[in-house]
Symmetry: C2
Subunit: 257 residues, 2 copies
């Protein structure tokens, strides 16, 4: 396929997805972002041009990848005359239908991963979930996705939203707890490094066994002595103390219902 | 060192620690557990004898490793006449002093890892934290720990407790959120497998960058549309909805203070 893509958005996801496509020989015609710094940074990585005004978006691209914050979609897209070009958004939560007013050819291309600009990822291993409004468009997206990933699934908007929620727990909240742990350690001058093998092992375990079976720690054992000692110790961390309490309770109830 | 160890307790930690010592040529004289099934299972793995009555614990061992639930320590140890043998507990939260009434030679040997009986671990990579009541005992524990681990640190009881709390967040609560994610997915017949690459990458990222910098997702972006849509969707998961709400709030406040 010799196709030209325009990227609407230049954040973490746009950065990794556009690079993955470019590496496979697809053309990136242009990058748009309202934030000049982001637009310029990504355009330089791809050696393409960028614009910060929606009116200047290249109307000759074959496919438009929309990688914006959900709430920005309806601010940016009305300013662009897509004709009936294929527009694809990359959001976990936005339904396919959100693009219906902008083109007759619409789709979703959702890579399930956490992206940070400075860390490379191997796109081959990232599960991609696609959806479209026609068999023809679905076939295009399926072919595109298979060019960069070994795991491609057609998934409807409702299930994709559920998937996204589960990812918030398994990734965003998990990473936040790494931060919480780091902050607690810092209060006693213990380096975060000591937790790294534990963090890797915790993730590795559930590659082989279901997390239900992998649960360890004072809450699942209902070791009240430890839980109370920890709560006492967390008196200086009001908010973390509350999280500790409610999650311990939730774990205990989960394993004793 | 030609030493004989007796293991008081036969849970996940006792299983992996006793095997690691045995693999390095140390003798395990006996396994004690109040639960016959656990005692028998570990004793068979080690090809040693076991007892389920504290009165029958082998009094000729050189060192006693106490790997019991914290609350069981003061139930079991008073029944054993240790003389002045070296007694070592393996708990993150129990202070060294908790062993003071049972012997003049006491210590702590705390491997920071999540252990499940059925999954092998490479002890070399597990950070071990030790503490003791004398320079002589500390030296013994240091040498022992270095036989099985490449990362050994002397750490006092107060700091070890803080370390343990941080591990509850970075491991136990994290694993619970993997379970929560699995349960949410199951409600729409989506297999847990789809999350595995995300879980591995989330853990891998913080090996290279601080979790503060690695945070992604709707809460840190304060994407209210998504957060509200997720809360709506979680109406059928009352307890998870509450967790979603309080953690999102905590993340938002953390990044906007």
């Amino acid at each position: 396929m010799s196709l030209n893509f325009c990227f609407i958005g230049a954040g973490n996801l746009a950065t990794h997805l556009s690079k993955a496509f470019q590496n496979k020989g697809f053309g990136i015609s242009q990058v748009y972002s309202r934030t000049e710094l982001s637009a310029k940074e990504l355009a330089e990585k791809l050696s393409v041009s960028y614009v910060t005004s929606a009116e200047e978006v290249d109307l000759n691209a074959d496919i438009y990848f929309v990688a914006l914050k959900d709430s920005a979609v309806d601010e940016v897209l009305p300013q662009i005359n897509f004709g009936n070009k294929l527009i694809v958004h990359c959001s976990g939560s936005l339904p396919l239908s959100a693009l219906g007013k902008y083109s007759e050819n619409i789709g979703v291309f959702y890579p399930l991963q956490t992206f940070s600009k400075s860390l490379d990822v191997d796109f081959k291993e990232i599960p991609v979930f696609i959806e479209s409004n026609s068999a023809k468009n679905e076939k295009i997206l399926l072919q595109l996705a298979l060019e960069i990933s070994d795991s491609v699934t057609v998934l409807d908007s409702d299930k994709r939203k559920t998937l996204h929620i589960s990812a918030v727990f398994a990734c965003n909240f998990v990473n936040y707890f790494y931060s919480v742990a780091a902050e607690i350690l810092k209060s006693k001058d213990i380096p975060f490094d000591v937790l790294k093998p534990l963090i890797v092992e915790t993730a590795r375990k559930v590659q082989e066994m279901h997390p239900e079976k992998a649960q360890t720690g004072p809450a699942v054992r209902f070791d009240e002595n430890i839980i109370n000692a920890h709560l006492q110790e967390l008196n200086n961390f009001g908010e973390f103390r509350q999280l500790y309490k409610s999650i311990s309770k939730s774990i205990f109830e989960h394993y004793n219902k």
